[in-house]
Symmetry: C2
C-alpha cells in the first residue's frame, strides 16, 4: 500500500544509489566553498585596520560582539540540551529514530557556527573598509564585498557539508535496507536536522534583532533626537552597543537565518522526492542544484569589480552583474542536471527551477521598486514627511501593504506554474516536489546574494568607525555611499528570503502530510485526513495559525521597545551624570549599554521562541494533524504577508529618510527630516527584528510539527 | 440525489410552511422597531436646539452631511444601475432567477435608507445634546442615547422588514413548488439581497471613512499641530468638514455597515438551513431570533437611565445594564424558540446561539481591555509617548497585534464549540448551520448595541457645536465626557462587528459551497471539489485572498492621506490668505473644505470598491470554484486579523492621547502629548476607514461569489 500511495514505480527511475557520480558534487561543492571562504578571509588580513584609534574601536566592537554571541550561545545551549534530552526520551518511547536528536544538534551547531564565522569576519573587515575608504570608494567596496563573500560562502559551504555528512552517514548505516525504505528514513531524519537549524536561526534572529534594534533605537532617540548629535557620535554612550548590534543582529542573525532557509528548502524537497516517487535521484536533484549554485556563485563573485573611479550606480551594476552571471550559469547547468538525473520525461522540473530563479529576480526588482528612493513609492513616503510624523507613518504603511500584492502574485504564479509544468495535474505529489525545486532554484544563488546582503552591515560598521575615529568627511561619505547601496541589496536579499521561505514552508507542510501518512502506515493505522478548509478543525487551525505571526511580532516589537527604553534611560543618565560628556571632555561608559542590551535581548528572546516551539505541539495534541496543517498554513499565509509588509515599509522609511538627508524637502534638520526619522525608527524593528524572524517562524513551526508528528498522530485528543 | 446530499429527511421536521405562527414575529418585530424609532425621534424634537448660533452651526453641518449623502448616493446609483443591468443580462442568459436583480437593488436601497435616516436623526440630535449639556451630564446622555436608539432601531427594523417582505413574496410566488425546492430558491435569492446591502455598505464605509478621516486628519494637522488652536475651533476652515465627516462616516457609514452585518448573518444562516436539512423551520430560526432580539433591545433601552448626578462610571454602568438585560432576555427566550422550532433533539442549537452571545460579550471585554486607558495595555502606549513619536507608534502597533490573540481564541472557540455541540461531528452541515446561528446570536442584541455605538459620534458633534458656539467650559467638559464614554462603547461595538463578520463570512463561504453543488446538480454536472489546503488552486486562492485586505487597506489609507493633504493645503492657504482669520476677526470659508472632501472621497472610493467586486469574479474565471473558496477563506483570515489590529491599535492610541490630556505624563501641550497626537492621527484611518471596511470586504466578496456562482461554475478556465 505504501508504495502505491507514494506513487513509487510511476515516475520512478532505476535506483542509482551511490553509483551516480553527481552525488559527490555536494561534498565537493561544500569544500570548494569553504576553501574560497578561507582564501577571501586571508586576502582580507593583508589590508591594514588603520590607525591605532581605529584598531581600538574595532577591537571594542569585536569584543562586545563576541561576548554577546558567547552569552547567547550559552543560553541557547541550555535550550538545545533540554530539547536533545526530550528528543531522546521520544527515541526511547519509540516515536523517533536514534539519529534524530543528533541531527537536531548538528543543525543547530552548524547554524551557530555559520553565524559565528561570518560575524568574526565582519568584525575584522569593518575597520579595513574604513581605512580603504581613505583611498577610494571602489577600494572600500572590494574589501567590504570580500567580507560579505566569506559570509555567503561559509553559509552555503557549511550547509552543504552538514547535508552531505548526514546523507552519506545514513546511507551507510541503512545500506542493508531496501532503497525506498532507506531513502525515506534518510530524508525524514534530515528534516529533523532542519529543526535544529531553524531553532538556532530563530534565537539568533530574535535575540540579535532585539539587541541591535534596542540599541539602535535607544541610542538614536536620545543622541540624534534629544541631544542633537550625529549618528555614531563617540559621545553617545550607546554607540558601541549600536555597532555591536549590527554585527550580532544583522550579520550573525542573518547568517543563521539564511543557513536555515538554505538547508530547509533542500531537506524539504528531498522529503518530497520520496512521495513524488523519484527515490534517490529525486533526493540528488536538490543537493546537486545546490552544489551547482555554490560554484556559480564563486564564478559570479569574480565579476563584481569596477574601475577605480566608479560611481554608486556603477557599483550597483557591478554587484548585479555578479548575481546575474551566477543565475545564468545555474539556468544553463540545471538543464543538464535535470536531464541527467530525472530524464527528458521530467524536463518540467527544469522549468520549476527556472521559475524559482526568475521569481527570486522578480521579487528583487519589486522590492527595489518599493524601497528605493529612485521610484515613486518611497518618494511619496518622503513627501508625506512634509506634513508630519503621522502622515509619514500612514504612507509608509500603505506602501508596505501595497507591496504585498506583487510579492503574492509572484509566489502564487511560481507555485502554480511549477506545479502545472511539472505534471502536477496528473500526479499531485510530483507537482508539489516541483514547488520544492522552485524554492531550491530561488535559493541557489544564495552564496553571492548573501555576499551582497552581508556587506551592508559591514559598511554600516565601517561608517560607525569612521565617525568615532573622526575621519575626514570624504571617508564618511564613501562609507555612507556603500551603506546606502547596501540598503538596496539588503532589501533585495530580504525579499528573496521571504519568497523562498513561503515556498519552503509550503514544501514542509506537504512533507508533514506525507510523514503523517507514513507514520500511520507504519503503525497500521487507517489515517484519513480531511484537509478541506471548511472542516472546522482545519479552519480553527488556520485562524490560530494566522494569529501566530501577529502575536510573535507583537512580542518582538515590545521587546525592542522595552530594550530601547532601558538604553534611553541609561544614555540620558550618562549625559546628565558624566561631567563634560556632551562637550567632548568626558568619556562615555559604553560597557553598561552593551551589558543592558545583552541581558535584555537574552531575556526577551525566550517568550517568542517558546510561542514558536510550543504552539504546533499544543495544537497537535488538541486538534490533531488536521488542526496542525491548518495552523501551519494559516501561519504561512499571514506570516508571509506580514513579513513582506514589515520589510518593505521599513526599507521605504529608511530610504525616504536618506532621500531627505540628501537635501530634498528641506534636508537634514528640517521638520520633514524629523518626521522621516520617526518613520525610520518605527521601521527598524519592522525590518530587522520582527519581519525577518517571521520567515524563520513559519518554517520552524513546520519543523517542530514534523519532529513531533509521530507523537501527535498517536496522542491527539480530538 | 440532491435531497440525500443535503441531508433532507435526516434532521428534517415536518414541513410547517406558513402555518407556524412564529413566522409573523419577524414582520411584527420590524414594525415595532420602526414604531419605537419614530417615537424616540418625536421625543427628540421636543428638546430645543439652543441659541440661534447653535442652530445655525447645526444647520450647516446638517446641510453639508445631506449634500454629501446626496452626491454619494448619486454616484452609487450609477454603480447599482450598471450592476442591475449586468444581473439582468445574467438572468436572460439563464444564470440567475428573475428576482435576483430586484433583491440586489432593495438590499442596497434599504441599507442606504438606514444610513440616511440615522444620519438625519443624528444631525437633528447633536445641537440638542449640546443644549442639554448646559443642564447636566445625564440630561445630555438621555438625548444622545435616544438619538443612537433611533439609529439602532431603524437598522434592525428595516433589515427585518426587507427580509420579511422577500420571504413572504417569494413564498407566495413559488407556493406551487415542493417545499425543499421552494425554500432553496427563496434562500438563494435572499443571499443576493445581501450583496446589495454589502455593496452599499462598502461604499458608505469607504466613501464616508475617507471623508471623515481626510477632514479630521487634515484639519488637525494644521489646526492643532501647526497653528496650535484647539480641536473644533471655529477659526479652522476644516472644522465643518470634520463635523460633517463624523456624520457621513461614523454614522451613515456605521448604519449601512451594521445593516449589512445583520442582514448578512441572517441570510447566510437561512441558506445553511437548507443544507443542514431543516427546511422551512431552519429558516424561521434566525428570523425569529432576530425578532426576539429587537424586542429585547427595546426592553433593554428602557433600562438605560441614571440619577441626575451620575458620574461617568455610573453612565457606563447604565449602558452596560441595558445591553446585559437585552442579552439575558434573548438567552432565556431562545431556549423556547429553539425547542418550539427545532425540537428537543436539536437543543444543541440553543447553545450555539448562547456561545455567539457570550462570544460577543467576551470580545467586548477584550476590546475594552486593549483600548481603555484604565488597563495596562493603553497605559503602556501612553507611557511610550514619553520617549517620542516612534515609540508610541511601535507600542500601539504591538498592542493592536497582541489583541488579535484573544479575539482569535474567542472566535475559534465559538466556531468549534457551536459546531460540536450542535452535532457537527455526525452531520457536517448541521454543525455549520450552528456556526451561522452563533453569528445571529452574537448580532441579536444589535438594536441596543448599535444605540450605544451611534451615540458616540452624536456626542462628538455635540462637542464640536459647543466649541464652535463658544459654550462654557462646563458644557464642553460634559460633551467630552460623553464622547470619551462613546469611545469605549464604540470600540466594543467595533469588536463585535468584526467578530460577527468573521462568523458570517464563514457561513457565507459554506453557503457558497452548497450553492455550487446545487447549481451543478441543476446542470447535471458531476461536481467534485477538492478543497484541501494543499491543493495548489486552493492555496493560490488562499494567498491571493490573504493579500486582498492588505491591498484594500493600502488603497483606503492612501486615499485618506491624499484627501488629508488636500485639506492641509487648503487650510494653510486660508490661514495665509484670509486676513485676521487666526485672530478671530476674519471668517473661514468652510464650504471649500467640505467640497474638497466630498469630491475626493467619491473619487477615491471607486478603486477599493472595484478591487472588492472584481477579484472574486476574476479568481472564479481563472481558478474556478476551488480558487474562489481559497480566496474567500484567505481574505477572511487576514481581513479578520487586520481589522482587529487596526481597530484596537486605533482605539488604544485615541485613548492614550485622552489619558495624557487628562494630565498624565505632562498633560496637554507636553512632548508626550504631541507624540500621542501622532499616534491618534495614525489610528484615525486605522479605526475609522480601513479597519471597519475590512469587515464588509470579507462578506462582500463572498456575496459577489454567490451571485456569480452559476456563471463561474460554467465558465471557469481551469
Amino acid at each position: 500500500m505504501r508504495l502505491s500511495r507514494l506513487g513509487l514505480g510511476k515516475h520512478r527511475k532505476e535506483a542509482t544509489h551511490m553509483s551516480n557520480p553527481l552525488i559527490y558534487l555536494a561534498p565537493i561543492g561544500s569544500i570548494i566553498a569553504l576553501l574560497f571562504a578561507g582564501y577571501f578571509a586571508s586576502t582580507l588580513r593583508r589590508y591594514s585596520e588603520g590607525t591605532d584609534e581605529m584598531k581600538a574601536i574595532a577591537a571594542a566592537i569585536r569584543e562586545g560582539s563576541r561576548a554577546f554571541l558567547r552569552r547567547q550561545y550559552q543560553t541557547v545551549a541550555i535550550f538545545f540540551f533540554s530539547m536533545f534530552t526530550l528528543l531522546y526520551v521520544l527515541v526511547f518511547m519509540g516515536y523517533l529514530n536514534v539519529f534524530v536528536p543528533w541531527a537536531f544538534i548538528t543543525g543547530g551547531a552548524f547554524s551557530g557556527l555559520a553565524g559565528f564565522i561570518g560575524m568574526t569576519t565582519a568584525t575584522y573587515t569593518s575597520a579595513r573598509v574604513t581605512n580603504q575608504a581613505k583611498t577610494s570608494l571602489n577600494a572600500a567596496l572590494r574589501v567590504a564585498f570580500a567580507g560579505g563573500s566569506v559570509m555567503g560562502l561559509v553559509v552555503v559551504g557549511l550547509g552543504l557539508l552538514d547535508l552531505s555528512i548526514w546523507y552519506f552517514l545514513l546511507n551507510y548505516v541503512y545500506q542493508a535496507m531496501a532503497e525506498a525504505d532507506r531513502i525515506q528514513i534518510i530524508t525524514s531524519t534530515m528534516l529533523n536536522f532542519g529543526m535544529g537549524a531553524s531553532a538556532m536561526a530563530l534565537f539568533a534572529r530574535v535575540g540579535g534583532g532585539i539587541y541591535t534594534k534596542g540599541a539602535d533605537v535607544g541610542a538614536d532617540l536620545v543622541g540624534k533626537v534629544e541631544a542633537g548629535i550625529p549618528e555614531d557620535d563617540p559621545r553617545n554612550p550607546g554607540v558601541i552597543a549600536d555597532n555591536v548590534g549590527d554585527n550580532v543582529g544583522d550579520i550573525a542573525g542573518l547568517g543563521a537565518d539564511l543557513y536555515e532557509s538554505y538547508v530547509g528548502s533542500i531537506v524539504a524537497t528531498c522529503a518530497l522526492a520520496v512521495a513524488a516517487g523519484f527515490g534517490t535521484v529525486g533526493v540528488l536533484v536538490p543537493l546537486t542544484m545546490a552544489a551547482v549554485g555554490v560554484l556559480a556563485s564563486i564564478v559570479g563573485m569574480s565579476f563584481v569589480r569596477t574601475g577605480e573611479t566608479a560611481t554608486q550606480g556603477e557599483l550597483l551594476k557591478a554587484i548585479r552583474r555578479g548575481v546575474l552571471v551566477s543565475g545564468g550559469i545555474i539556468a544553463i547547468i540545471s538543464w543538464f542536471v535535470i536531464i541527467a538525473l530525472l530524464g527528458w520525461e521530467n524536463i518540467g522540473m527544469y522549468f520549476a527551477v527556472l521559475f524559482g530563479l526568475l521569481g527570486g529576480i522578480a521579487i528583487g526588482y519589486s522590492t527595489e521598486y518599493f524601497t528605493s528612493s529612485e521610484y515613486k513609492a518611497t518618494k511619496t513616503v518622503a513627501e508625506s514627511a512634509i506634513t508630519g510624523h503621522a502622515t509619514v507613518i500612514i504612507q509608509g504603511m500603505s506602501v508596505g501593504m501595497l507591496s504585498i500584492a506583487p510579492f503574492t502574485l509572484v509566489i502564487v504564479f511560481t507555485i502554480l506554474a511549477s506545479f502545472v509544468v511539472a505534471g502536477g495535474l496528473t500526479s499531485f505529489n510530483v507537482g508539489l516536489y516541483a514547488v520544492g525545486l522552485a524554492a531550491v532554484g530561488m535559493l541557489s544563488t544564495l552564496g553571492i546574494t548573501m555576499a551582497t546582503d552581508a556587506y551592508g552591515p559591514i559598511a554600516d560598521n565601517a561608517g560607525g568607525i569612521a565617525e568615532m575615529s573622526a575621519q575626514s568627511k570624504e571617508v564618511r561619505q564613501r562609507t555612507d555611499a556603500l551603506d546606502s547601496l547596501g540598503n538596496t541589496t539588503a532589501a533585495t536579499g530580504k525579499g528573496f528570503c521571504i519568497g523562498s521561505a513561503a515556498l519552503t514552508a509550503l514544501a514542509l507542510i506537504v512533507a508533514y502530510r506525507e510523514q503523517v501518512f507514513l507514520i500511520a502506515d507504519d503503525l497500521g493505522m487507517d489515517m484519513v485526513l480531511d484537509l478541506s478548509i471548511v472542516n472546522p478543525k482545519v479552519l480553527g487551525g488556520l485562524l490560530l495559525g494566522g494569529m501566530l505571526p501577529f502575536l510573535f511580532s507583537s512580542l518582538t516589537m515590545q521587546a525592542v521597545g522595552r530594550t530601547a527604553q532601558m538604553v534611553v534611560l541609561e544614555v540620558r543618565r550618562q549625559f546628565k551624570e558624566i561631567p563634560g560628556l556632551l562637550e567632548g571632555t568626558g568619556k562615555a561608559d559604553y560597557a553598561t549599554c552593551v551589558d543592558i542590551c545583552a541581558k535584555a535581548s537574552l531575556k526577551e528572546m525566550v517568550w517568542p521562541a517558546a510561542v514558536a516551539m510550543l504552539s504546533p505541539l499544543a495544537m497537535g495534541i488538541l486538534l490533531g494533524v488536521e488542526g496542525v496543517i491548518g495552523l501551519l498554513t494559516g501561519a504561512l499565509l499571514s506570516g508571509f504577508m506580514l513579513a513582506v509588509f514589515m520589510a518593505n515599509a521599513g526599507g521605504s522609511w529608511d530610504n525616504a529618510k536618506k532621500y531627505i538627508e540628501e537635501g530634498n524637502h528641506g534636508g537634514k534638520g528640517s521638520e520633514a527630516h524629523k518626521a522621516a526619522v520617526t518613520g525610520d525608527t518605527v521601521g527598524d524593528p519592522f525590518k530587522d527584528t520582527s519581519g525577518p524572524s517571521l520567515d524563520i517562524l513559519i518554517k520552524l513551526i513546520s519543523m517542530v510539527s514534523l519532529v513531533f508528528a509521530s507523537f501527535v498522530v498517536q496522542n491527539a485528543l480530538f
